[in-house]
């Protein structure tokens, strides 16, 4: 670390003094949202199956989706989906050298993270 030029390594890392650039936050959120989506996988498949399994199942799923817990979970799911998709597209564009300069990467990391959160807020509003 700068300022510790005596060859000794820092003994501990103070997490509150570490700086997380926006790219790191966006990238880590991509990972977290991916795990969230994976955890939702059995739930979404279960809901899909139930909704296609007779009209009583369909009504049960519709009921769950209109409960408070259902709406909150759906909002979390939609945030994860929006952020993961947008950050994934950002990665794909960077693979073909689009927007991979530092300035552009920072701007797109901001845009992706804010847009993902905005879509989640919008979905929350639409569900309510």
């Amino acid at each position: 670390m700068a300022g510790h030029g005596n060859g000794r390594r820092p003994r501990f890392l103070n997490l509150f003094r570490l700086r997380f650039p926006v790219g790191a936050v966006c990238s880590f959120a991509h990972r977290v949202s991916g795990v969230v989506l994976a955890l939702f996988l059995p739930v979404t498949i279960g809901l899909l199956r139930r909704s296609l399994d007779g009209s009583s199942g369909y009504d049960a799923v519709a009921g769950m989706m209109s409960s408070v817990a259902g709406k909150l979970l759906a909002t979390l799911f939609l945030w994860a989906l929006a952020h993961h998709t947008l950050a994934g597209v950002r990665h794909l564009l960077m693979d073909v050298e689009l927007g991979s300069s530092l300035g552009a990467a920072r701007r797109s990391a901001w845009s992706v993270s804010v847009l993902g959160a905005a879509l989640a807020v919008l979905a929350f509003g639409a569900l309510w």
């Binding site: 990972r31 989506l37 994976a38 996988l41 059995p42 296609l52 009209s55 369909y58």
Partner: protein, 110 residues
């Protein structure tokens, strides 16, 4: 630096599956907005018709491949002791396989 065996194919699987899922999402969203199926009968007819079911089947395959590569990468990054790592990978693989089996009834639904 030594290449991990299969690293390139995992990288490719992740990107190809991502592209297909992105296309399918637009397709399914557009089709849903056009049809707006309301009620059980309309929903079932819409979701299980061949134009939805066949691309949807490919979507499921892409989704499970994508989830496996992604979760595998996360575990390889954070779980280092070999027995623990193998156990965790096996557990995730089994959970994904079980979840995928849950889709079987939809595959054969009339």
């Amino acid at each position: 630096m030594k290449a991990i065996p299969g690293a390139l194919s995992a990288w490719l699987v992740q990107r190809l599956s991502a592209l297909y899922m992105l296309l399918f999402t637009f397709y399914a969203l557009g089709a849903w907005l056009l049809a707006r199926p309301t009620g059980y009968d309309a929903w079932r007819a819409w979701a299980l018709a061949p134009p939805m079911r066949l691309p949807g089947l490919l979507f499921s395959a892409a989704l499970f491949a994508h989830a496996w590569v992604g979760l595998r990468d996360v575990l390889l990054d954070y779980v280092h002791p070999v027995p623990l790592r193998l156990g965790a990978l096996g557990l995730v693989a089994a959970a994904l396989a079980l979840t995928a089996f849950g889709l079987a009834p939809l595959l054969f639904a009339p």
